[in-house]
Amino acid sequence: MAAQYLLGNEAIAHACLEAAIDVASGYPGTPSSEVIDILRMQDERPFHVEWSVNEKVAFEIALAAAWCGVRSLCTMKHVGLNVAADPLMTSAYTGVTGGFALLVADDPFAHSSQNEQDSRRYAHFARIPCLDPASVQEAHDMMVESFALSEEFGLPVIVRPTTRICHSKSDVRLGDVRGEHRTGTFRHDPKQYVTIPAHARLLHRHLNDKQSRIKKRLVERGFNHHTIRGETAIVASGVAAAYVQEVIPDNVSFAKVGAYPIDEEWLKDFVDQHRTVLVIEELAPVVEEAVRQVATTTEVSGKMTGTVPYEGELSPASVAAAMRRAGFAPTETFPDATPVQGVPPRPPILCAGCMHRATFFAMKKVFRDGIFPSDIGCYTLGLQLGAVDTTICMGASITVGSGIAHSGEERDVVCTIGDSTFLHTGIPGLLNAVYNGANIIVVILDNRITAMTGHQPNPATGVTATGEPSPPTSLEAICRACGATFVETVDPYDLPLLLETFRQAKERKGVRVIISRQPCVISARRAGIRRKPYTVDTEQCTGCGACRAFGCPAIAFADGRPTITDLCAGCGVCADICPSGAIHTEGRR
């Protein structure tokens, strides 16, 4: 095929079609989301593809399909693997029959994540192979191969791109989409699939026995390779390898690690031939630790010597700087360019008309000294509005809120959580809160979609990943089934009613649930919903600034007076906030 210009995630998705997968599952999470989004929209190869309710669920779906002999894919971001870690660890014992690739996208610099954990550690922990691409083309090629590798060793294989692979584009050469389909058949084999202690002990031994063959094979397959060119060397992995290749001098040896576990003999042979070795990788010092284990007289530098930064993302300039610190002479010197100081920041912001902004506004008005545990979604941007006090991981708003309340804290605790996050891991927290008598208010920000990651449907949306209608889950019924008795649903664009509902909730004790429901403005616009834009009547406006604190990006100010720009989504909430009645829909007084 001719070259195409593709996003890393597009190339990865296409690789799965080339490998003839029959099941794909995942939970959205930047930077992994586009893979399932592409698979669910494509029509080159029909097969089962789903957005699952969380990563553990997604993992088990794909694992079991692979037990039945079909090829399956499961996708998530790095922190999602924490949620799926339970089945992951034991799936290495049960193994698989069909190829099972686990695509886990890591996020150095935490561009859109709560931490910088390294999924290669999980592969090591579970003792399964992990492929670590350095470019979009390599991500594609490794993805295709991962399924065969999985079948060869009967193990799940982790493919671990980083943000700079997933969200980079390049000219890529794709293969053909394969047409054949496999049909899954479950083979009864309790010794393999029922991990009672007697079986687990044996399975553990089988897993360990596979390791040395895997290491050799990864070198044979060319994932780990090196060139000897001098008496000093650089070892690099992932996208850092691409940066190194940009600036490495001709007389410095180079080893590229693209797969784990690393064969110690191969590595030792390389390391022993050099006086000094510099290891360059993002996130944890996984390769560096392996190099240190095999090195005898060779001097090793990397993160552990402070030569390569531990945190954040690498870049050509930071790689060159690390080389210089280690006594290498990179072929390029990068200028010392510093940004202009004092430019006002432009952080991301909730959209004009976003229902979260209205909900946060009312919440803060009624609970002036409240404590606001929150969760993960667009609404985390409520931080700028002073409406987010904690965010740790998916589903933790309700549990963190419960813990704060049980600590004896007497102020009102108001937890906010999105619809998708509530369905992901929020439900057990609510159940627990009611069962154990927590004194909290739970606000479900229900915009009917998983917005932040690119508007994926969830069980509350009413359609599946592939667009089939499905009965929209009733959040009210779930909350009542968890035992909550105060469950009120409000339209956040109706500010007076929203305030009144918060006030009612404040009067009571126990677990109180408010479901604030209005479609996300982006998905509403796509669905053809148009609301009349608003304008400010300059004669009526007193310049009091009440609308300024609301923070809608459609309201701009010149000389202290507001004007409404063409970003206005027509939610009408600013009109309710204005004490002088100066904001109307266009053409209406």
């Binding site: 584009k169 360019a337 006002p344 991301p348 912001i349 700028q384």
Partner: protein, 194 residues
């Protein structure tokens, strides 16, 4: 240097920097050039400051090092100021001459420079500018500002302008091809020194 022609496109999430980078990438494919690019996805796209790196002829990584870009294209004047350090001294900037003031400036009472002050602060660069919003409206849609900017910058991009225009046709939604072709031409013709 690395042998690639490095372009940084900056703007505000929602202004279509990704589409603009797609057009250049597609044009590279049409001219059989290698290309590497990096873009912002996820939360930052919600009205935040965004950047797309495009390395025409690139073979390795997709990131451009500060101080080394051959061309900076800014869809917003304030973003031009934020990212100017990606250019070497005297480097080439093609920018929208308007800016959107960040909402946080209003909310937190921060100081924001005005258009004249920013243009003065960029005066040491090889600077050209267009009024992207006005030209996009003239072309038929305020959403076509990104293609106006590409047209304006096309004089300095080492790809045939015919190829870039054909890539515009292929990359934009079908219904908007005419508007975007007009936007490209208007941007290409209107650009001038500020």
């Amino acid at each position: 240097m690395s042998g690639s022609f490095d372009i940084l496109i900056v703007g505000i999430g929602g202004q279509g920097t990704v589409l603009a980078s797609n057009v250049l990438g597609e044009a590279c494919i049409m001219e059989n050039r290698t290309v590497r690019s990096a873009e912002t996805h996820g939360m930052a796209q919600r009205g935040g400051s965004v950047e797309s790196h495009i390395r025409i002829g690139g073979q390795h990584g997709s990131l451009i090092a500060p101080g080394t870009a051959e061309l900076l294209i800014a869809f917003d004047l304030l973003e031009a100021l934020r990212y100017r350090h990606y250019l070497p001294p005297g480097g080439r900037l093609v920018t929208n001459r308007r800016l959107v003031v960040p909402t946080s400036v209003y909310m937190q009472g921060l100081d924001a420079p005005d258009e004249e002050a920013i243009i003065a602060a960029l005066g040491d660069l090889d600077l050209s500018c267009v009024d992207a919003a006005a030209l996009a409206r003239e072309a038929g849609s305020p959403l076509a500002q990104n293609i106006v900017m590409l047209g304006a910058a096309s004089h300095h991009i080492p790809l045939a302008s015919g190829t870039v225009l054909e890539a515009v046709r292929r990359c934009v939604p079908k219904k908007t091809v005419d508007i975007n072709v007009r936007a490209f031409q208007l941007g290409r013709d209107a650009v001038k020194r500020c």
